[in-house]
Each structure stands twice: as C-alpha cells, then as structure tokens.
C-alpha cells in the first residue's frame, strides 16, 4: 500500500532544515513533530501523577500512614488531580493524535496555523511548569483539590494563585488548539473530502474543538476571578462582601462539565477508527456517530449543575439538570451500540489495539452507567463526595479516555515511529493493568456506597479490607503501566521496522510510508468515497 515514489523523501523524523537535534524539534511547526512533543511531555507528567496516586493508595494502608502528614495528603490529591486533568486527560488525544493525524486524515499537509500550533505547545509547557512550580514555591502546595472551590481556595494560605494561573495558561493552549482544528477542518480538506467522507475521529475532534472554544473561556475568567479575589478582595465570591460562593461553582462547572466531554469525545473518535480496521467492516451508523458527537457537545453543555445537587439549588433546577443528565447518556449509548454492531459479523483480526479498544468499551460502560446512577437525585445525595464518585470518574477518565489513549497509541505507534512493538509484551502488560484497574476502582465504587468519603486521610476500621484490596490493585495497575510503556519505549529504539500498513487499515494515514514524510503527501489525494470501505467486504 505504501506510495513510495521514485525519489524517496526523508521522513519527518529526520532533520532537513538548518537546525539539528533538540532545537529542530523545539522550533518545528510540523504538526507531526508537535504531536510527539505533546506525547513525550504528557507521558512524563502522567507518570508523575501516577506516582502520586501510588503514594496516596499506599498511605491508605493504615500501617504506612505515618509516611506523610494529612496536609501532604491534601496537596497530593490536589496535584494528582491537576496534573491528570489539565495536563493529561483534557489535552491527551486531541493534542497528541489530533495534531498528528487530523491533517493526514483529511488529506492536508499541516494544520491551518502551524506557528500557532507550536505556540500552543509552549503555552501548554508554560502552564505545566507554573502548575508544578506552585508545589515548591510560596507557602506550601495547593490543598484545595483540583476544583479550587471557594471559599476555601480564597482563605487557604497555600500557593493557590500560582496553580490557578497555570491552569489558566493550559486553558489558553486548549483554546488555541480548538481554533486551529476547526479552521483546519473547514479549510484544508482534500478535494472530494466532503464532511461525511471524513473519518469519524475528525468529527469527534471537530465537536471537541467547539466545546474547547465555548467552554474554556468561562474557566479562564473564573480562574482570573479567583486570583483577583485573592489578590485584591473584589468580593464577587465572598459572602462577607455580598458575593456568592455558589456562583463560583456554577461558573466552574459550566466549563468543567463540558470539559468532561472534551476528555471523552476524542477517545470515542479514536475507538471509532480502530474498530472498523480490525473488524474489516465499514463502521455501522456513520452519521449516527457523527451527529451523536455533536449532540454530546450540545447537551453536555447543559448538565453542569449535577455536580451541585447537594448545594441547595431549587427543586425545579435539580429536576431539570437530573433529566438533562439522563438525556446526555443517550448519544453515548448510541455510540456503544454502533461499535458493537460494527464488530457483529465482521472478520475480526485480534490485535493489541483492538484488545485495548474493547477494554475501553467495557470500562466505559461501567463508568457511564455509574454516571447515570449519580444523575438520579435521591441516589446522588447518598453517594455525593464519596469514593463512589472517585471510582466513577476513574472508570470514565482512565478506563475510558486513558484506555482509548493507549489503544490509539498502539494503533498508530507503527505509523508515528515506523517501528513495531512486541505484541506479546503488550498482551502481557494488559493482564496486570486490567486486573489491577478493576481491583482498585471497582472496590472504590463499593467503598463509596458503604459510605467512605473522598479526600479523607484517615478511614474507619470497617473500610480497612476495601482499602487493602484497592491498594494491592494499584500495585498491579502500576506494574501493567510500566510494562506497557517499557515495551513501547523499547520498540521505539529497537523495534522491528513497521510496514506502511500493518493493520490493513483503509483511511488515508495507511497510504503513507511509516513514518510519513515531512509533507505528508507528495500529491494531495482526491477522495471519491467514504472513509471505511474495505475491499474484502465487496467479495462477500
């Protein structure tokens, strides 16, 4: 399938410009290189946060509790959340795989604004560094949790303003990426690449970009208000001056709930790319999947107050938001049914990316259904702020977005690096990861229903067994993660050379050599049909 022309152009991984080595990467406006810059920085931050999570689990074993103080524990869960949310899960798939593959999938040579794209990465790094530095400067690491709720975030003496400013910069990066992607999709599709001929990953990036555009500025202004409140006491959130702390919660969740869909939509998009390739079948319900992405983006903007069911809103508001929360589950379910139908009667070629894609579907269903449970008002009162919530959002964000990230990485790794990993080693890493994951987070669901509150340093003796199971699970999980990334790092250096199309995929990236040339396409392709047409299907 590879389209090596008579003269072989150098791949994007080779330096051809005046600058060499690190400088060539740091100044490159090639969307593929920027994608990799994001990948490397993101994985690094991810492991920092994993280590923090590991310590947090460890001290829940009572005999290790003396290792840290309760204040440190507060700082740890704040930083774990800030890093995981703002540095890994939110930018995760769009910044890495969106950057790398969006232009390729629509037959373009780059994004619309390549320099802005590089600037977004610098905003990302600046935000990340400011956020991490906030741990070490000032009067102690922020201890508010990643939500920075007022009034505590206004009163605490810790370094909240700096962490908040870091999140502000990260938001900027996210917004600029969104602007870039929307413009790219509108302007740079190859001839014949009509809207409904785009691979569905592009649709998911498109809807994500709109949420980034419409929701992130609200977070930005809210964070600015927190900083102004701390610095000058403007009083908008301070009841002593006539302000209202609930206003903060509204503004925060007006962004942060749609942000949940920023996290999950690209993940769903990646899964939608992977399944047809390994089922050798066209996707079931192309338009349903495309429109459900937009529906999630729309309805998902109207459910934010379900984070505030216990804060004393009016009954009418509660019922409205509860209903809308149930409604937003519908487009997600549409996607799940379409995925399963795609596999039905396909000729399944079982490979590591498919394994992780199926893991995604399984874990995401648990995460999604526990989410619907919380949408019910009466249940919510019982499980609010318990480990049930913690378990739920780890199923969605880690089991969902995280596993989809891994699946996408496995799927596109040969294309990005031109190397193939050891499939056996990946399968071997899956077992501890999957077992550890469920030991850790399913136990949290159970603990939550039993009444274990989240963010507590100590726990009552009746929760001992649960915490022990969860902590042991975290060891398996970390082991699996180390094996997984160890395999990939080894493959990047010493792996066998990958073919242009190792999986038999039919979207545009598989027509290119692995790794692609700097310009992506020697000749811009002309598109004549939908994205998932497998010749095998025609033969019966």
């Amino acid at each position: 399938m590879s389209t090596h022309a008579t003269t072989v152009q150098p791949s994007y991984l080779e330096d051809t410009g005046a600058r060499k080595g690190l400088m060539a990467w740091l100044t490159s406006t090639d969307h593929k290189r920027i994608g990799l810059l994001y990948l490397y920085s993101m994985i690094s931050f991810f492991f920092v946060a994993v280590a923090i999570g590991f310590v947090m689990r460890l001290v829940q074993l009572t005999r290790f509790q003396h290792l840290i103080t309760a204040e440190t524990y507060n700082a740890l869960f704040t930083v774990h959340g800030v890093i995981m949310i703002f540095l890994f899960v939110v930018p995760g798939l769009p910044a890495v795989f969106g950057n790398f593959f969006l232009p390729i999938l629509i037959g373009a040579k780059d994004v619309s604004f390549p320099r802005l794209n590089l600037a977004s990465w610098y905003f990302y790094m600046a935000g990340a560094i400011v956020a991490v530095l906030s741990l070490f400067l000032g009067h102690g690491a922020p201890d508010t949790g990643w939500t920075f709720y007022v009034p505590f975030s206004l009163r605490t003496g810790t370094n909240v303003s700096m962490a908040v400013f870091g999140a502000f910069l990260l938001g900027f990066s996210s917004m600029l990426t969104g602007i870039n992607f929307i413009t790219t999709i509108h302007r740079l599709r190859a001839p014949g690449m009509k809207w409904f001929r785009m691979p569905l990953f592009c649709w998911s990036l498109y809807s994500t970009a709109w949420i980034q555009l419409l929701a992130t500025p609200i977070l930005a202004i809210t964070l600015v208000l927190v900083i102004l409140e701390r610095a000058f006491g403007i009083g908008i959130f301070d009841p002593a001056k006539g302000g209202d702390p609930l206003l903060y919660q509204h503004l925060f969740w007006i962004y942060s709930h749609p942000a949940v869909y920023i996290m999950i939509l690209p993940a769903m998009g990646a899964i939608t790319e992977i399944l047809p390739t390994f089922a050798k079948r066209t996707i079931f319900g192309y338009k349903a999947i495309a429109f459900s992405s937009m529906a999630i983006a729309g309805v998902g903007s109207l459910v934010w107050a379900h984070h505030m069911f216990t804060s004393g809103l009016s009954q009418f508001a509660l019922m409205t938001f509860s209903l809308l929360t149930m409604v937003v589950a519908v487009p997600s379910a549409i996607k799940v049914f379409n995925w399963v139908s795609t596999l039905y009667k396909g000729s399944i070629d079982f490979q590591p990316p498919l394994l992780f894609a199926l893991t995604f579907i399984f874990l995401f269903c648990i995460g999604g259904l526990t989410g619907v449970m919380q949408g019910a008002l009466a249940v919510n009162v019982h499980i609010h702020d318990t480990y049930f919530i913690v378990g739920h959002f780890h199923y969605v964000m880690f089991g969902g977005t995280g596993m989809a990230f891994f699946a996408a990485l496995l799927y596109w790794f040969p294309k990005m690096f031109g190397k193939m990993y050891s499939k056996k080693a990946i399968y071997a890493s899956w077992f501890p990861m999957f077992i550890g994951f469920n030991m850790l987070y399913f136990t949290m669901l159970v603990l939550g229903v039993m009444g274990m509150p989240r963010r507590y340093f100590h726990h009552l003796p009746q929760f001992n067994t649960g915490h022990e199971i969860a902590t042991v699970g975290s060891w398996f999980l970390v082991l699996g993660l180390v094996m997984f990334f160890g395999t990939l790092v080894h493959a990047a250096f010493k792996g066998e050379k990958a073919e242009g199309n190792p999986w038999g995929g039919v979207t545009l990236e598989w027509t290119l050599p692995s790794p692609p040339i700097a310009e992506n396409f020697e000749v811009i392709p002309t598109i004549t049909e939908g994205p998932y047409h497998f010749p095998q299907e025609d033969n019966g």
Partner: protein, 205 residues
C-alpha cells in the same frame, strides 16, 4: 505561514485566517460572558444598590469614552479601505489616529479610576467596606470588568501598533492585508464590549 525547519509549499488562505480570528473573538466574547453572567446574577440580587452605586460613576466621561472608541473603530475601517486602494500614507495616518484615540480612552479611564480611589471606592478600601453589600459587589465588578476591558484596549493598541509597523515596512500591502483586517476585527471587539459595559455600569442609575 513560514517555517523554520522544513519548507512547506507556500500556502495562503485569507479566508481561513479570518475564520480563525472570528473563532478567537468568540472565545473573547465568552470570556466576558462569564462576567456578564456574574453581573446579571448580582444585579438581580441587589437591584437597589446597583442603582445607587451606578450614580457614583461619571456618565459624561463614560459617554465621552464611548464616542472616542466608536470613532476609533471608524478610523480602523478607513485604514483598511485605504490599504485596499493602495494608499499607504492614508492607511498609516488612520491607524495612527486610532492609536491616539485608544490612548485618549485610557487616559480618561485612568482619571475615572483615580477619582474612585480618591473616594475610597475600591476593593478592600475601608470606606467601601462600610457601604451595603450590593454596592461593594458593584464596585468589585466595575473594577474587574473595566480593568479587563482596559487590558484588552492595551492589547488591541499593541496589535494595531504592530500593524502600523508592518504597513510602514510594506509587509501589509494592497493585495495582502488580512493581518490588518484581523487587527481591526479585534479592535471592533474591544469596542463592542465597551458598548455593553456603558449601560451596565454608567447608565445603571
């Protein structure tokens, strides 16, 4: 877009550049939108106090500033018309006028702020703390919103000053002026936001 490491084929898409700018303006509108939400909520809580506190502001200065900004938006448009006709000197003159009007706006604004500080009407001031809650919130919002708007004026002026330099260097020309157009769009946004701030604060009384 030029490139430092590998040579892309020269690709120019003025429509795309404008689309990107419009999308950026959307984010700016939503940014202020958050503050407008806060304003409307607070005003519904404290209608009488907002009415009274609005009387403290100098409506004459507010309206003067509105006229200044509206005129500056006109001169930006005129500069774009001039560059389309290839009249470089006129373009630069209109841009310089815009910059001057922007500075006038900031000067008037700073006098206003100074008066408020003089009267002890600023966040954390002892005098303000003695006033009713609604008035404290009003001035908190006033300083936040006009302050953020002021920052946008400064940003807009910097952008337009940069455009002036580019016109002078012939980097913006009769057939390549999308950057100037985008700078102008940003300046109009600054103007539009002010048009909302005027009635919300100065005419609240």
């Amino acid at each position: 877009m030029s490139d430092t490491t590998h040579a892309h084929a020269v690709h120019r898409d003025d429509f795309g550049a404008r689309l990107g700018m419009w999308l950026f303006l959307v984010t700016e509108m939503v940014l202020f939108g958050g503050l407008f939400i806060a304003y409307s909520y607070m005003r519904s809580q404290y209608p009488a106090e907002f009415h009274h506190a609005g009387g403290e502001l100098n409506a004459t200065l507010g309206i003067t500033n509105t006229l200044v900004l509206l005129t500056s938006s006109l001169t930006v448009v005129l500069s774009i018309v001039a560059i389309q006709r290839g009249e470089k000197r006129k373009t630069m003159a209109f841009l310089a006028t815009t910059l001057g009007l922007g500075v006038v706006f900031l000067v008037i604004k700073s006098f206003e702020w100074a008066t408020k500080f003089h009267h002890g009407l600023y966040p954390n001031a002892q005098h303000l703390a003695t006033l009713p809650h609604g008035e404290q919130v009003f001035f908190g919002l006033y300083f936040t919103m006009t302050g953020l708007h002021g920052l946008h004026v400064i940003a807009g002026l910097s952008v337009l000053a940069y455009m002036l330099v580019k016109v002078a260097k012939d980097e913006i020309t009769q057939d390549r002026y999308v950057h100037l157009e985008n700078g102008g769009l940003y300046w109009h946004l600054v103007d539009v936001i002010w048009i909302f701030l005027l009635p919300l604060f100065y005419l609240a009384a």
